[in-house]
Symmetry: C2
Subunit: 187 residues, 2 copies
């Protein structure tokens, strides 16, 4: 699905790929829904601890957010399915992230909560980002990955367009979030 898109998958096509009949799959999974859930779950288990390098806790948190985003971007189908089968940053990663926030200065219980918020921001970003990559109003700019020419919905074709740079937007969002966390500690 990561290679061919979520809508490619049908029980018949998958079965053909495996050289069996479509019904054979129902011996392993009770439904297509369960199969998709298993896919999302399997991708989630790939997510071990993230390589964050050395540096201040703030730098590593920035890196953490970027690595999370990178992970989810390598599994676009997980994000596409995520509407129905919530992907998670669970287990080892979650502990790694919460530990970083403790290093920054948060008490253990607050660190868990702030980490949760950070993960939702990153996951939400990836969701929106993937929507953009498939939206009819967003024209990718040739040779500029992550940049789009945006036509505002409902406007005439020659209305003012603007450019969207998802890399920059992600940086803005993470910087703002981290600054907010630091501000909370400073007060």
């Amino acid at each position: 699905m990561d290679e061919r898109g979520v809508e490619w998958l049908s029980m018949r096509k998958l079965a053909a790929e495996l050289g069996v009949s479509a019904q054979a799959l129902y011996w392993y999974f009770p439904s297509k829904d369960a199969l998709c859930r298993a896919v999302v779950s399997a991708a989630g288990e790939e997510l071990g601890t993230l390589p964050l390098g050395r540096g201040t806790p703030l730098r590593r948190l920035d890196r953490y957010a970027r690595e999370l985003r990178a992970h989810w971007r390598t599994h676009p189908s997980v994000i596409a399915l995520g509407r129905r089968y919530q992907p998670t940053a669970a287990g080892a990663v979650a502990e790694q992230g919460a530990a970083l926030l403790q290093e920054l200065g948060f008490a253990p219980d607050v660190a868990v909560e702030r980490h949760h918020a950070l993960v939702w921001i990153v996951l939400g970003f990836v969701y929106v980002e993937q929507g953009v990559s498939q939206s009819a109003h967003h024209q990718p700019i040739a040779g500029n990955a992550g940049r789009y020419d945006v036509q505002v919905a409902g406007s005439s074709p020659d209305a003012p367009r603007y450019q969207l740079d998802t890399e920059r937007l992600f940086s803005d969002i993470i910087r703002t979030a981290l600054a907010g966390l630091v501000a909370e500690l400073g007060g």
Copy 2:
């Protein structure tokens, strides 16, 4: 679709509801895809200026984020379709939001960028939130809207669970984001 869910909609069912044949719809829309795009676009046009009350720019920004979220939550199907047909906070709302950030102290061009970031955060949150509401790992807690009992993926059924409070998480995220914006101005 907001009432019955995105997966309810089929050209045949919709046509039956309208008392025509399925093929009749193809006189008005070239495809189901185009019809869905029109739905998302129509919902977007409902979004006039938001009622923000009086108060400091910061208070109105907080209200702005909450109103945006509320709008999208009244159109769950738009969010469900959003993966493919990007919803937007365009036109009047976008101007309202950017103006608020100018009031807070940002230069006009930066205000537009920071507003964009804020909108993505809110939209991303609603995406994730909707995924949660349909996830098998999240059990809604009776009588507590927005609260879920979460079972961590891949763990045994009696593994430690934790509670998720989406209202609180949204507040955390918006508070952190606004604190980050204020910090940027203070520096």
